[in-house]
């Protein structure tokens, strides 16, 4: 809501700078979105009379005028050609500051001195009209400041009105609010108007769709002078209020809308057949609107029609052939209240929103109708010289009465956390328009019908609290009667993230929706959850894997010159889990009402979400240093991460369509599959723009990771451990992991540690075989003798011989 301050001053007196007003309004009522300036901010604008006017001798498009400023004559160069000798014009003098912050200076234009500037309507902040100089009539006295007739500059506050306060969509509501904040009085115009015009009852009024139209009033204003322009004061207020001046009749309706918040529609009475009918649209009924668009209606759309055709989509926009225009002399004025939700639905359905619909959709007060009708009547009988009918047709079957709401001071003090004096509460509520009675320490407020948001005690508490000032509420801390903490799962996720960051990876957060190709390019089966209204076709599918988002990011990093990178992300993946047919109805009821009956909520959700951790290593993960070799993305780099995330994991070869078939594995945590690890299939890498780069990745269920296993003390003895190495030859196809497990599983062990420190194939190892070097550590309850260690190594070796056919490498 745009609030021109000079207009606001008409309703109440206040002595505040714009910035003070912004602070006060923000802290007590509504947020201010911005402060705009129009016209001349500072300086002098006087009325001049053009004495001479002619072309500039040195420029084709310029003109030069001699202007009498009341006793002195100045020369002014102008770009507009509409002034003639004898007309009166506003002249802004050098030294004045314009709304864009520039200071006007005496200037020489193409060799001629120019003293000040003759001004257009736009330059004065009256309208967007910049077609010529504003010509003033003879009532404006030459030499006087223009400001004596109308403001030459304007400050406009843009209030960001919250949806619960439709009353603030009018200047009077804003004035009332400010008066309540300042504890002062406000005044509203008393409408008076000429009557005796043609009777409204020549026309009929029938409201068929009562549920969508609580009130509809119609009044005829006849004897209008055609072709009139609204008075300048009205036009500049409409313009400052953010609308466009159009003609005297439309401007009067818009002016009253800005003033009261109540939209008003004017029909040219000549074009209305018999009477007004308020009805639902008919299937496939069409209406061509003022903006030239043709809309197809349905039964949910409320239409204002005559007996023959639709004239207006209620609350939104009129048809072009029933509107008032230049030639209108006889008008029917509609002031009505429509059901807000229906207006909103129609607005959304048609993709059409207007100043009027924005007000109707919040739900307006039907009791505002009469005042707005009188106000617009008064304005229409002034400038365009119309006369109001003596009668008004009104359909208002169920008048809205004020309602009573209790307020216990104790409750207010509890919710606000500060003392509230009875007198203060009464005064504040009365300032908002409530009538307040006191009963046994309780207050009962009779709420005016324009404050539909004040229904319950808590609503009144808020009003009292904010008007007293929320800054008065002291800061205190509650005594929380429980211990805080993270659940096991939350701790696990946090540890996972910290661990990977400590290992040198960077945490990414990517969008969980992407294009269909995510699924296709990874060769996954479809099972994706789709969005009905994605932002673009590229974002219509919810991810079933963390991988594609990280691959896209990796490709992007590569495109921007990165030589490699290690990214991880913890987030949810989504699987369609469509309820069985017989549960469809129960599912819908659960989703809309929360009722699930005997069903488990999980079976009715339709989507299964799983938290996953994903890692993508690409290119050179760690560059070479002067004393260390580079680390490139590969299976074993990724596997090393898995071994930290899932201690004791088992790895079994497993193929997934997007992984290298020979360099990938399923990860088993106990008997559960925790995820996978592997190098990306080169074909898939190509599809993601990663051709020729080594890419390794992993993805695990976070719930199955164990980044910090619970420690358990194992006793040890203080005797030295003994290390022995052993190299064996074995068939190349034998998995080393199997050999390791077999060694570790040997019963009765003195062996405390075994590691593989070399694997080698090729000469001199015979073809088809590989050499595997193990390092063992033995530890006994006493210092082991060489013979005892030899016996242990022999035991290990015979196990390997038996199971895998190894030979000692000599």
């Amino acid at each position: 809501m745009r609030v021109p301050l000079s207009w606001l001053h008409e309703y109440l007196d206040f002595d505040l700078r714009a910035d003070e007003l912004v602070d006060l309004f923000s802290l007590r009522s509504q947020e201010i979105d911005g402060v705009y300036r129009l016209g001349v901010i500072e300086g002098e604008v006087v009325i001049g009379e053009v004495v001479e006017f002619g072309p500039h001798p040195n420029a084709d498009r310029l003109f030069v005028a001699k202007v009498d400023l009341g006793g002195r004559e100045v020369q002014i160069v102008a770009g507009a050609q509409n002034p003639r000798p004898g007309v009166r014009v506003p002249v802004v003098l050098p030294g004045s500051v314009m709304s864009d912050g520039t200071t006007l200076k005496k200037a020489k234009l193409r060799g001629l001195e120019s003293y000040g500037m003759m001004m257009s309507e736009r330059e004065l902040g009256i309208s967007a009209d910049h077609g010529g100089i504003l010509l003033l009539d003879d009532s404006h006295e030459v030499g006087r400041p223009v400001a004596e007739y109308f403001p030459v500059g304007e400050t406009v506050l843009d209030i960001d009105v919250t949806p619960n306060r439709p009353d603030l969509w009018g200047m009077i509501g804003v004035a009332r609010e400010l008066a309540a904040i300042l504890k002062t009085e406000y005044r509203i115009p008393e409408p008076s108007f000429a009557t005796g015009g043609k009777p409204t009852r020549d026309f009929g009024l029938r409201v068929e769709a009562e549920d969508l139209c609580p009130r509809y009033d119609l009044r005829r204003i006849s004897d209008l002078e055609p072709g009139q322009v609204a008075p300048l004061w009205m036009r500049r207020r409409i313009y400052a209020g953010g609308m466009r001046p159009i003609n005297a009749i439309v401007d009067a309706t818009n002016y009253v809308m800005l003033e009261t918040g109540q939209p008003i529609h004017a029909f040219d009475a000549v074009r209305v057949r018999e009477g007004i009918v308020v009805r639902r649209g008919r299937t496939r009924e069409k209406i061509t609107l003022l903006d030239g668009s043709t809309r197809v209606l349905d039964e949910e759309v409320l239409v204002i029609a005559d007996e023959e055709r639709g004239l207006v989509i209620a609350g939104l926009m009129g048809a072009e052939d029933a509107e008032v225009g230049e030639e209108t002399t006889d008008a029917l004025i509609e002031v009505a209240t429509f059901e807000g939700r229906n207006i909103l639905q129609t607005s959304q359905k048609l993709g059409l929103r207007t100043d009027a619909s924005g007000r109707f959709e919040r739900g307006l007060d039907p009791n505002m109708v009469a005042y707005a009708m009188d106000r617009v009547s008064a304005l229409l009988t002034q400038a365009p010289g119309g006369r109001s009918a003596d009668d008004t047709l009104s359909h208002y079957p169920e008048p809205v009465e004020p309602w009573r709401v209790p307020l216990r001071l104790g409750r207010a003090e509890l919710l606000l956390g500060m003392p509230v004096q009875m007198e203060e509460a009464v005064e504040r509520l009365e300032a908002l328009g409530c009538e307040v009675e006191r009963e046994d320490g309780e207050l009962w407020a009779t709420v005016p019908t324009f404050r539909r948001d004040l229904r319950r005690e808590a609503d009144l508490v808020e009003e009292v609290g904010r008007l007293i000032g929320l800054d008065r509420v002291p800061e205190t801390l509650p005594a929380v009667p429980q211990t805080g903490g993270l659940t096991e799962g939350q701790q696990r996720t946090r540890l996972l993230r910290r661990l990977l960051a400590d290992l040198g990876l960077s945490e990414a957060i990517t969008y969980p929706f992407g294009p269909e190709r995510w699924t296709e390019d990874l060769g996954l089966e479809d099972g994706t959850v789709r969005l009905e209204n994605p932002l673009s076709a590229e974002g219509g599918h919810l991810r079933t894997s963390i991988l594609p988002g990280l691959l896209d990011a990796t490709a992007r990093n590569r495109a921007f010159g990165a030589r490699g990178g290690a990214l991880f992300e913890v987030g949810n993946v989504f699987f369609a889990d469509v309820p069985q047919d017989e549960l469809r109805e129960a599912a819908l009821r659960f989703r809309m009402t929360g009722e699930r009956g005997v069903q488990e909520a999980g079976r009715l959700m339709g989507v299964r979400e799983v938290s996953r951790i994903g890692v993508v290593l690409g290119g050179t993960v760690r560059p070479a240093g002067w004393n260390v070799p580079e680390v490139r993305a590969g299976f074993f780099e990724a596997k090393g991460l898995v071994e930290r995330l899932v201690p004791g994991a088992r790895f079994v070869p497993a193929t997934r369509p997007y992984l290298h078939p020979g360099r990938s594995a399923a990860v088993l945590a106990g008997d559960k599959e925790a995820g996978w690890v592997g190098e990306l299939h080169p074909e898939v890498a190509g599809r993601f723009g990663l051709d020729g780069w080594p890419v390794a990745a992993l993805e695990l269920d976070t719930a199955l990771c164990q980044p910090a296993p619970e420690p358990r003390f194992e006793p040890f003895v203080n005797v030295p451990a003994v290390a022995r190495d052993l190299a064996v030859l074995v068939e190349e196809r034998i998995p080393v992991g199997d050999m390791l497990r077999s060694v570790r599983d040997l019963p009765g062990q003195l062996l405390t540690e075994v590691r593989v420190f070399d694997v080698y194939a090729g000469s001199p190892v015979p073809p088809g075989q590989k050499s595997v070097a193990f390092g063992f550590t033995f530890q006994g309850g006493k210092t082991l003798t060489d013979e005892e260690v030899d016996a242990e190594v022999w035991r290990v070796l015979s196990r390997l011989e038996d199971e895998f056919g190894v030979r000692v490498r000599s």
Binding site: R165, L414, D471, P481, D502, A508, T554
Partner: protein
């Protein structure tokens, strides 16, 4: 030359050899030469038995004395030489200490997550628990239970991604408040962090963003408790010196509703050209309010017995302010040039 004289001579030869011995190896040679098994002094000692008792005593004494003296000289010289040799060795091992060390590269947590972790730690310290929930949410939990039934104007304020009949990508983390209250009795002290989604995309809006909501329901909770809690949190996140202020606002599920500003932690409101607060002195930080009695009733709590407060903040925006990031879209591109700065 008498034997005694010879001993003296050998001693002085040995001592001068020791004095000029330059290395540990030299000194070992000298030892062998003068004190070894076949050294002359050793021979003299071996021959003592053939001498007269007087001579025996005299020669025995002087030869032993000479041996000890040479031994002592060798010992102290060896120490000197060893010390010098070690010094030389260390000199030779000197490295260019300006060369980089072996890399133990650090990784990086996402800036939004840093803020989320920080905020959560604060609330856990106060005694709050943490609740998380599904991102695909039902219409009921996301809207209706929060006082926004179908057709309500507030629904148009949130551009919603629709998934299926009655399912949406949650537009806020508030549904977790409902789920939490339905699952337990008061007192409730909980924070709900998570991803949220709205159909919106420009430099300050991304279709996905994070929220952290908090909810407290207990006997006797007031707006003062809300202010105190949020003020303490702001000081935890932005520094001891910051202040907060609350302004009236409107949210469907709180009454009264407020918005909270934090005083500019960069300029404290003293710099009209401040890049962080644009000279306003205040930064809009979050929305909050006292839980609407209708919401309490919806989950079966008695609003006469219990009051509560709720708040919601945007950790992405907080990170933007805290770290001076101008464009929200950077947060979700996985760009290493961005991520490596945190």
């Amino acid at each position: 030359m008498t034997v005694s004289e010879r001993i003296e001579q050998l001693k002085s030869e040995a001592l001068s050899a020791v004095a000029s011995g330059a290395s540990t190896a030299d000194l070992e040679d000298i030892r062998v030469r003068f004190l070894g098994r076949s050294a002359e002094l050793t021979e003299i000692k071996k021959s003592i038995g053939t001498l007269s008792p007087d001579e025996r005593k005299e020669i025995g004494r002087s030869s032993n004395l000479a041996s000890r003296e040479i031994e002592a000289a060798l010992g102290s010289r060896a120490e000197e030489v060893a010390a010098r040799e070690q010094e030389e060795r260390l000199q030779a091992e000197a490295a260019d200490v300006t060369l980089p060390g072996v890399p133990f590269p650090r990784g990086h947590l996402h800036p939004s997550q840093i803020v989320i972790d920080d905020v959560i730690d604060f609330f856990v310290g106060l005694g709050y628990r943490v609740a998380e929930g599904p991102e695909v949410e039902t219409d009921y939990y996301n809207f209706t239970a929060l006082g926004i039934p179908p057709g309500h104007p507030a629904r148009t304020m949130q551009d919603t991604f629709f998934v299926d009949d009655g399912l949406v990508l949650r537009t806020q983390t508030s549904p977790m408040q409902i789920r939490t209250m339905l699952a337990q009795e008061p007192p409730v002290y909980v924070v709900c962090p998570g991803r949220t989604y709205r159909r919106d995309s420009d430099p300050t809006h991304t279709p996905m963003f994070h929220q952290i909501e908090g909810l407290a329901v207990d006997r006797g909770l007031t707006l003062g408790h809300l202010k105190g809690t949020l003020g303490a949190m702001a000081r935890h996140v932005f520094g001891e010196g910051v202040e907060i202020r609350v302004r009236p606002s409107y949210f469907q599920f709180t009454e009264p509703s407020v918005e909270m500003d934090v005083s500019c932690f960069v300029c404290g409101g003293r710099d009209p050209h401040c890049k962080v607060c644009k000279g306003a002195g205040w930064l809009e930080m979050l929305g909050a309010g006292m839980v609407d009695p209708g919401v309490l009733e919806e989950v079966g709590y008695d609003p006469e017995e219990y009051t509560g407060y709720a708040f919601g903040m945007g950790p992405d925006r907080m990170a933007m302010v805290k770290y001076g990031v101008p464009d929200l879209r950077l947060f979700f591109e996985g760009d290493l040039r961005f991520l490596r700065q945190f």
